[in-house]
């Protein structure tokens, strides 16, 4: 079980961190949530009944929500994205347009409702299937999938304002 948990952490550390950060909105508290989750998992050390990846993501998600119960999400939360790198494009217009598009999509993701943002992070940045997402959130798969679609529609609408 230890090796299993270790391999899940190694393969999904970035996705776990993105999920915890998207929930807590604070990088330090996101790391604390992951630490707390693995502490619980090791204390329990039982073989997961279902998908081990969904099992670990559920633990990190619950620990992140516990962080929110102790202290609410900050009003100016940390983004899950790095700062935009300098773009070197042949045309300054293209560079400006791409930078603006990136800024819009990032801002749109950060401003999504919590559940939708969580769905996008789990699906895109953690590589979870809808089945794993449903298991991690303990919700029906159809609910998770439709939430993800709605999130993409919102993001698309935000980026299309640039056009």
């Amino acid at each position: 079980v230890r090796e299993l948990l270790g391999s899940v952490y190694r393969d999904h550390r970035q996705g776990l961190f993105s999920l915890a950060l998207s929930i807590t909105g604070d990088a330090n508290r996101a790391e604390d949530a992951i630490h707390d989750a693995f502490e619980r998992l090791f204390r329990r050390l039982g073989k997961p009944a279902g998908d081990p990846i969904a099992y670990v993501f559920a633990a990190v998600r619950n620990a992140s929500l516990d962080q929110l119960r102790r202290k609410p999400r900050p009003t100016a939360p940390d983004s899950i994205f790095e700062f935009l790198p300098a773009v070197s494009e042949p045309s300054p217009d293209h560079a400006a347009c791409d930078a603006e598009r990136d800024r819009l999509v990032r801002a749109a993701l950060d401003s999504l409702p919590d559940a939708q943002r969580e769905a996008v992070v789990m699906r895109l940045y953690s590589g979870l299937s809808f089945e794993q997402m449903a298991e991690a959130t303990r919700e029906p798969m159809s609910t998770v999938a439709s939430r993800y679609r709605r999130a993409l529609q919102s993001l698309r609408a935000s980026v299309e304002t640039l056009v």
Binding site: R2, L5, G6, Y9, R13, Q14, F17, S18, L21, A27, A30, E31, I34, H35, F38, E39, F42, R43, L45, D78, S79, I80, F81, E82, P85, C97, R101, D102, V105, R106, L109, V120, L124, Y125, R149, L152, Q153, L155, R156, V159, E160, L162, V163
Partner: protein, 171 residues
């Protein structure tokens, strides 16, 4: 940019955004769980059967050693009958002894234990009417290795049985 975006375009766009990475300290914090000793087990619920004790294994080893000793003794007594006709060389046998030695090595720690027990049999007469007593000596050599870093333990038990014949004094 195309005026009609599809979901796949948004997904691609999002995937191209570099994400913030966790710091290395998080890896160290999580790795501490992997490198730590086994966690404490929760107490067994009331009425549950007790966990297997290491004493069970030890008793099993002793039982196996005793069985092996009986077989060896049987063959030894058979050979004694044949050798009693020849000259007997008395051998001094010490009393029952118990010694424990501990040698701390770099890694792992090694512990050697030796248990011995002597048991005298009935007095018998040799062909030249010399009273002798067969004495059975059972020795148990146990070596344990313990790695304190990983808490790995290993134990090897080696039973040895000897039959010696001593001259007896009859009042």
């Amino acid at each position: 940019m195309s005026p009609e975006l599809k979901d796949a375009d948004i997904e691609t766009l999002l995937l191209h955004q570099p994400r913030r990475e966790p710091c290395r300290a998080l890896d160290d914090r999580v790795a501490a769980f992997f490198n730590s000793a086994a966690p404490q087990q929760a107490p067994a619920p009331f009425g549950a059967p007790p966990p297997p004790s290491p004493l069970r294994f030890k008793n099993f080893v002793y039982a196996a050693a005793a069985l092996a000793a009986c077989v060896v003794m049987t063959f030894s007594l058979m050979s004694i009958r044949n050798t009693l006709d020849t000259a007997i060389t008395p051998i001094h046998v010490a009393d029952a002894a118990h010694s424990v030695t501990s040698v701390a090595m770099a890694n792992p720690i090694r512990v050697d234990e030796v248990y011995s027990q002597d048991e005298a049999g009935d007095v018998v007469l040799t062909s030249d009417n010399q009273p002798v007593v067969p004495v059975r000596r059972q020795v148990m050599h146990t070596t344990r290795w313990l790695d304190p870093a990983t808490n790995v333990r290993m134990e090897v038990t080696r039973p040895v049985e000897q039959i010696v014949v001593l001259p007896a004094e009859i009042d």
